[in-house]
Structures are given as C-alpha cells and as structure tokens.
C-alpha cells in the first residue's frame, strides 16, 4: 500500500493511503476528541467535534471523515480549532438535558467528559431543553430511550443498521425537530427491536441505557424471607474487570464469585452449568433431527437446526424469518434453563420454597431482560428468572457496596449447579456453542474425541463474519450407524447483519448445513449489549482470548462429562429430551410481524 506524507502539528508523519487525519493523529499519540465516531461503525462526520485546521484553508476539516492527503499541513490544537470545538460542545450541551448528577451515565458520559475538558461554563447558550417536548420511552424491559439526552450522533442508528441490519432506530424529521426515532415513534417494545443493546453499548450519553434492576435486587437481598440465587453468564467473568478498572481480557471468575457472596446472594451459581446442560439437550435434539431426516425420512424434520441461546437472535428470527421458527432448537437458553431448574430441582435440594426464592442472573446482555419477561418463561410455576442484571449493573453494585474488587481473594461457586466445563465457558464467544456441541455430539456418536488437536475446533473460532466447518463422521457406534460417512456441516455467524446473510441462503435453499450457530452480538456474548463500555474490535479480541484461556485451564472440557450434569439426569431429568426436559428446558416461539 502506498504511503501518504503529511505534517500534523509541525511533525512529519507517514501513513497508509486511505487513512483519515484522525487515524494519522492517533498514530502520533495526538488525541482528537470525537463523539459521532466509533471504530465499529462507518464514518458519519456529523458531530463536528473532531475538527482540525488545514494550513491555508479557511474552513476546518472533520478529521474522522477527511482522508489524509499528500503534503497536508494539519493543526489539531490551534486557537481556531479550540474555539470551534468548544463552540460545538457548547451547542450539544445546550440541546442535551444536562442533569448530570441525576443521570445513569454520570461519570461515563462522553459529552460530560468533553464538556469538562473544554470547561463549558454556565453563562453559555440558551438551554433548548425546556423549550421542547421530549419522549422518554421506558416501556421496554431492556432498553430506555430518552430523547432529551440525545445528541443526534447517530451511533445507535448505525449500530442497528450496520451491525444488526435491522434499522429499529432511524433519523426522523429535519431541522430543529430532527430526532432518532423508532418506526412511527412507537415504543421500543412494539417495534422490530431485538433488545440486543448494541445501541446502548455505543451511545455516548444517557439517551440509550439499559433498564436497570439494581434497586430491585438490593431490595430482594435485604428481604430476610427471600433466598437469593444468582447465576453468572460465561461472558461476564472475562469482562467485569473492565468496568472495575482492570484491563480488557482479564479473567475475574473467582473475584466475581467472592463479590457476589459479599453482596449478599445466598447461592452463587453458574450459568455455565446450564450451558453444559444446553449442549446435552441441544446436541441430542440435533442428533434426533438428523435421525429423523436421514433414517425416517420425515419431511417434517427441519434442518438446518439453529441455536437458540441468544435472545436477540430469537426475537430477530421471530420477526424476520417466522417461517423458519421450526428450524430453531427448542432448547431454552442457559439462563432460562437455569431459572426453571433453580425453582424446582435446586429449591428442592436446598429445601427452600420456590415462592421464597428470588432468581437473579448476571448477563452480558440486555435482551436477556426481555427474555426473562417472556410469558412462556414460567415453567417452574413461577417466574423462572426474576431479575436480570447486566455486567455493568453488577459492577455498579460492587462499587455501591464498597467492595475493593481488585483485592478480593478468589472463591469457588456453590454446589450444586455451580460446576461447569470449558465447553460452557466458550459459550461466551462466537463459535463457542458450536465447538461445545461438536465436542459432545461427536463423542456421543463415535465414542471418540473430536478430531481436533486438544479439542480446539479452530475453524469455528475467531472474528470472521461467517465461519463454516465440517466434520466427517467415520466408524460411529452401532446406534449411530446411519451417520457413517456423513459430513456434518456447520456454520457460525455473529452479529445479526451476518445472521441475515446466512438465513437468506437458508430461505433460498442454498445452505446445506446441518447446524447453525447464531449470536446476535458482534463477537458473540462477549460483545453483548450489557458488557462494559467502550467496546471495539481490539477489546472483543482480548475478551475472546480470555475465554479460550479459561476453557483451556478447565479440568473438564466436555459438557457431557460435567459431574453435576450427569447427576441431574440421574436424579431429576432422567434423560435428554425426556418428559421433564420438555417441561422445563424446552420452549416455543412466537411469530411476529416485520413491522
């Protein structure tokens, strides 16, 4: 690639052709403030905070949107630039309901940060907020949209459109009325929104935030009548540290368990346990479908089968491909399997009445909040999961409790339903469910380990948008003789824009896969909408490495070898896809409209 030479702040720099001025400056460790810019998204160039001066040019240039050109002389800190930036920040503050001390994003708001950096004073412009009517949409169990705090940077619009290919949020009206709106300005829960929270992850202010249940959890903890059970999703343990001052990619499982105990949870358990269980149920469902298709030639058997653990994906397919709902595994997500078992099997074990149990989950996800509130999620006879916290909310609770997280000694999960395998941990990364399922399914069928070095099925790992892998089944056990020579074809996609690519091929009959894993969020759950902010490719890659590190360090790495899983089938569930399983661990889906 050819190089471009330019001068930034009187220093010569050489960058690759196609780089923006912002990227060139970053290379020189010059920080140019940005708001609408986000590494995961296309360039917008609409906030005008990142303006720089080109020597000899009257107007300033948006550094995020201007390609570096040969011979350019750029000033990033001239008086003209500072005045312009301050003016733009002042304008944004004037249309932003800047009640910072009462804002959920207080301390983490990018506008607040810039306004403090540029010393925006009180004797500023006219406050536009009282002059307008704003809508605050707090009807969704997952996401709150507060237009009075919106600075129209359109990061949410681009997240929803580019990463997820949904367009639940878009720009409406023009001029002073211009706003970010849902379809016909309906509440978020009524439109085609998957609750994935990618918009929340990228909103620079408090305009899009998760609905938090922190106070509800504290109240429950404070209630002596209640037994609090908490489960933690695989991707929380590798990201929680970020929200508490640690570098991305640190595994904090032991500290998190210790913190949860100190917060006052009575049973600190692990969603990873039910992730292992998901593999057993889902893996057996796949084998059953394969048998139905290949042996019984049953035309009603739907293949490819898709995973069902990502609630964003479930809501998406319900809206966008309702004709394919029969292809979705009926296995509940690990969160909901856990919830159903907590108030039945576990309550019985520890001798607690289920009505006195409060089941809390900590998830990397905002869609899990919606999932827990689905009407069908009452298999235990009670609401299976009462309250869902995001990774961010848990971090906030740890801060509120005054716990010095970094100083905590590692602790172990409680037993039972606290034990898990490496296969469960990798649920948090794109390709992880596929890898876990293959580790189990292959062994069930052949009696041997998957033919990959160290059980690491590398073709399904990594950040490639759509990944494909196939395993040829040879010399199966007698019961699975019909699979001899069958090449099991799989596909993995993360981010709903990529899911769409795969599903469009399924609709057209061009995809001859047997099993498809879809995660709604980029990178899988580790890039979920409830994870610490900021997020970008580099951070997600660090989290991914941590997940596979955790897997590699586990003594057991195959779901079907989890002793607690074996035990629960012996004592309670009897067999995969059995009567009890269907009652507690499987679900059904709802056809929804596209509009």
């Amino acid at each position: 690639m050819s190089k471009i030479n330019l001068v930034i702040d009187h220093i010569q720099v050489s960058v690759e052709s196609g780089s923006t001025i912002l990227e060139a400056a970053k290379k020189m460790n010059i920080k140019i403030p940005t708001l609408c810019h986000h590494e995961d998204l296309c360039v917008a160039g609409n906030c005008r905070v990142c303006m720089v001066e080109q020597v000899g040019s009257d107007r300033l240039l948006p550094s995020c949107a201007t390609p570096a050109a040969e011979g350019m002389e750029i000033l990033t800190n001239s008086l003209k630039v500072r005045n312009a930036r301050k003016s733009v920040i002042e304008l944004l503050v004037s249309e932003h309901r800047a009640e910072c001390t009462r804002c959920y994003k207080n301390g983490t708001c990018e506008l607040q940060h810039l306004s403090s950096e540029y010393l925006i004073g009180e004797d500023s412009l006219i406050d536009l907020v009282p002059l307008k009517e704003f809508t605050i949409d707090y009807f969704s169990p997952s996401i709150i949209k507060d237009d009075s705090k919106c600075i129209r940077c359109q990061r949410c619009v681009r997240s929803c459109d580019q990463l997820q290919n949904i367009g639940a949020l878009s720009v409406a009206y023009k001029g002073q009325k211009m706003k970010i709106a849902s379809f016909f300005e309906k509440p978020m829960y009524e439109v085609v929104c998957t609750n994935c929270g990618q918009c929340v992850n990228r909103c620079p202010t408090g305009a899009l935030i998760e609905r938090n249940y922190i106070d509800e959890v504290w109240s429950a903890i404070n209630d002596p009548q209640k037994h609090l059970v908490v489960q933690t999703a695989p991707a929380v343990r590798i990201a929680l540290g970020e929200a508490l001052g640690m570098e991305p990619g640190k595994i904090v499982t032991g500290k998190m368990v210790a913190a949860l105990r100190r917060l006052g949870f009575d049973s600190v358990l692990d969603t990873d346990f039910s992730a292992d269980l998901t593999i057993i149920e889902e893996g057996n469902e796949l084998l059953q479908r394969l048998k139905g298709a290949l042996v019984d030639k049953d035309p009603n058997v739907k293949l490819p089968m898709t995973t069902s653990c990502s609630p964003g994906w479930i809501k998406y397919i319900e809206h966008m491909y309702p004709q394919l709902l029969g292809n979705v595994s009926t296995a509940k997500s690990p969160q909901q399997m856990f919830g159903a078992l907590a108030k039945t099997y576990y309550a019985n074990k520890i001798n607690v009445e289920p009505e006195n149990m409060v089941s809390v989950s900590v998830m990397p996800c905002t869609a899990k909040k919606y999932e827990a509130n689905r009407p069908e999620m009452h298999s235990s006879g009670y609401k299976d999961v009462d309250l869902v916290l995001t990774t961010r909310e848990l971090a906030r609770m740890i801060q509120q409790a005054g716990i010095d997280f970094l100083a905590l000694e590692n602790e172990e999960y409680d037993s039972i339903m606290g034990m898990s395998t490496g296969a469960a941990v990798i649920f948090g990364a794109t390709g992880g469910v596929m890898e876990a399922a293959l580790r189990t399914a292959y062994e069930v069928v052949t009696g041997r380990d998957v033919p990959f070095d160290g059980l690491n099925i590398l073709p399904v790992r990594g950040m490639e948008e759509v990944k494909e892998a196939s395993i040829k089944i040879e010399n199966p056990l007698p019961a699975w003789a019909f699979l001899d020579g069958v090449e099991l074809k799989t596909c993995v996609a993360h981010g709903l824009a990529n899911a769409k690519k795969v599903m469009d091929r399924v609709v057209k009959g061009e995809a001859n896969y047997h099993f498809i894993e879809i995660m709604a969020c980029p990178g899988g759950c580790l890039g979920g909408g409830g994870q610490p902010i900021p997020t970008n490719k580099e951070i997600r890659e660090k989290r991914t490495r941590a997940i596979y590190e955790e897997d590699a360090g586990k003594p057991i790495r195959k779901s079907h070898e989890n002793p607690e899983v074996i035990k629960i089938y012996d004592e309670f569930l009897v067999k995969p896809l059995g009567h009890k399983s269907h009652e507690l661990l499987h679900t059904s889906y709802t056809e929804r409209n596209r509009y």
Binding site: V43, G45, N46, C47, R48, V49, M51, D58, R59, L60, P62, A65, T66, P67, K80, N83, A84, S87, V88, L91, L92, S94, E95, L125, I126, L128, L131, I151, R152, Q154, V171, Y173, K174, G175, Q176, K177, M178
Partner: protein
Amino acid sequence: MPKKNLKRLDLIFKNELDGEQILEKTIKRSKQDIINDLIISGLKGRGGAGYPTGLKWKLAGESEGDMKYVICNADEGEPGTFKDREILTQVPMKVLIGMAVCAKVIGAHQGFIYLRGEYKFLLDNLNEVIDDFHVLLNKIGFDFRVKVFLGSGAYICGEESALFESMEGHRGEPRNKPPYPTQSGYRKMPTVINNVETLAHTYSIFKYGPDKFKDLGVQDSRGSKVFSVSGDTPTPGIYELEFGMSLQKFVEDFGDGDAKAVQVGGASGFCVPRKKFGRTVIGYQGKLTGESLPTGGSMMIFNSSRSMYNVLHNYLEFFVEESCGQCTPCRVGTQQLLLGIEAVKRGERPSEYLDKLLKLAENMRVTAKCGLGQSVANSFSSIVENFKEEMIY
C-alpha cells in the same frame, strides 16, 4: 422598465430554434475541444458556489465508473430566487442540449433533472419537451436519456450530495466531501451536477463561441447572470444582466428610491447596507453572490420601512426548519441564533450577547458540514454587524 445604464442582455431567454444544429455540431467535436471552450469562456457554476464548469466536466470525464450521470439541479429553493423556473419554462431545450453535450464529454447515457417539488406544475410541459428532445437524440443517433426526478420540498436537497441521497431514496442529507460528485456522485458514480442556468449558458457558448461569452462581465466573473429581483422594487422580476455592475447602479435601476439594504444571494447570501452600495460589485470576485448555497442571483431590496431584525428573524426561522439536522453547528447553531436575537430583542440577554452569537456564526461557518450551515453566517453577520441598533432596540 428601468432605463439607465445597465447592460441588459438577451442571451438566455432568446428563443433559438437551432437546437438540433448546435447539438449535432457540438457533439461531433472532440471532448477536449468542448472542455477547452468552456474553460476559455470562464463559465462558473450559476448555482452560487461558482465552480468552473469546464473543470467540473473535465474531472468527471477523467473519473472511472461503470456508469456516469449528468444531473441538472433544478431544486431552486433559495428564498428570493425564481430564475430557474423561468429558464425551464422558456428555454428548456437549451438546458437539455447542455446536458447532452456534457453526457458526450464525460461518457454518460443517463441524465436527470432534479425538479423542485413546488415546481410540479412545470412537469407536464417539461416532459413534453424531453420527449421531443429524445426524438432529436434518436435522429442524430446519440444514446442519452433524461428523466425528471421530483423533489419533495426540502431546501437541503438542493445541496448536491443531499440531492443524490434524495434521488437514491435516502434522507436528503449532505455527504462528507471528499469525494466530490465528479468522483462519486449519484449512486457513487462520477456525476456532473450543474445548475439550470449554467447548462443554459453552455448552449450560448457552443453556439457563439467562448470569446463572446468571455467578453461579457469582468475578470473572474465572466458572462451574464440571471437575477431574480424582489422586495421593495417597482419592477420585480427576472433580469439577465452582465456581471460586474455595482450595487449602486443596481439600486438606482431597480430600487424604489429608498433602498436601505440589498440582500444578495438569498437567505444564505450577504446583506449590503446603503453605505456600501457604491463599493460593492456583483460577481464572484467581489465575494458577494459567491457564497449562496443552492442558487445564485437572488436580489432582495429592502427600503427604510423594513425592520432588518424581522428580515433576519425570517431567514433564521427558515434555516431552523430547513437544516437537515445532521450536523451540530447547523442543527443547534441555527436555533441558538434565532433564540439569541429574540432574547436580545426582548432584553433577556444583554446586547453583548450579539457578539457571542457572531462568534457562534463564525464557528458555524468553519465547522458545518455543508453549504447550508456554513452560509448562515453570511446573512447573520452582515445583518447584525450593519444593523446592530435594529437588533437591540
């Protein structure tokens, strides 16, 4: 009718029936010759920005693209401008021939006229002319087609990249530049987008040669210009005048004898007070008329009965509504300017607040994404600076 010493012209509106010969003759010439003629003529874009037309065609011709497009910008939305409407009514064939020659030069086969939504009443007539034009093209064997695309009423869609977005079915929002339309325009393909009047002028250049055109006007502002004269004038209307006249002469001819200010270039242009009439020349060189966004040539005369506060208020209300809302300086800045002058007028803010607003306008000029937000400062600053007392009292 005014009778004084302004050089009146009748080039554009002259009904010439030799379109077929001119087109046939011109498209036989080499691309380079046509471009050279345009460059020699000194023709600059009549939409207001004043980009040299020959250079624009040359760049689009040199750009690579599977398709190329010629677009006539007839989204004439600048307050006080109505000359393109007249050109499209009187001499649409000249515009179409200009488009066809451009198509030949750059290698396009499809052209569009982006017609302002409010000009829908021109549509039937225009389509009839286009049908005749297509017959003519068939006759001479030139593969080019023109379609009319009707706008929906947003001022911002006159901005060329917002216009492309609008044509592509998106929100009419300006794009980041670079890339410029000659590299990446409609459907991201190399595109020439010219104002109606610019294209009509090319016809005269092809017919009479570049030197005739160049003889008109003054240095850097060559040729004639169609002006839309409105406001406090006994003779409102459309006039083709030579570039280079002083505002003094203009007011003597068109004013009602009591002109205190002329707004040159519409809401996004500059306001010139009486004391500066003599020093102000109309043309690109003099900066005036050079800054207006979607179209040039609006001349609004205000006499001493007018409140310049009301004039500015009216312009700002227009911008507050017509900003696309995308970039901060324009969306919020226009609101702040409007509310700001209201607050000063009501005494809620001190008169010094106007200085803060002037600085804000200047910052908008250097930071806004497109010509709309950049040019709000033109009218704001020139009115506030020249008529400060009227803003306060």
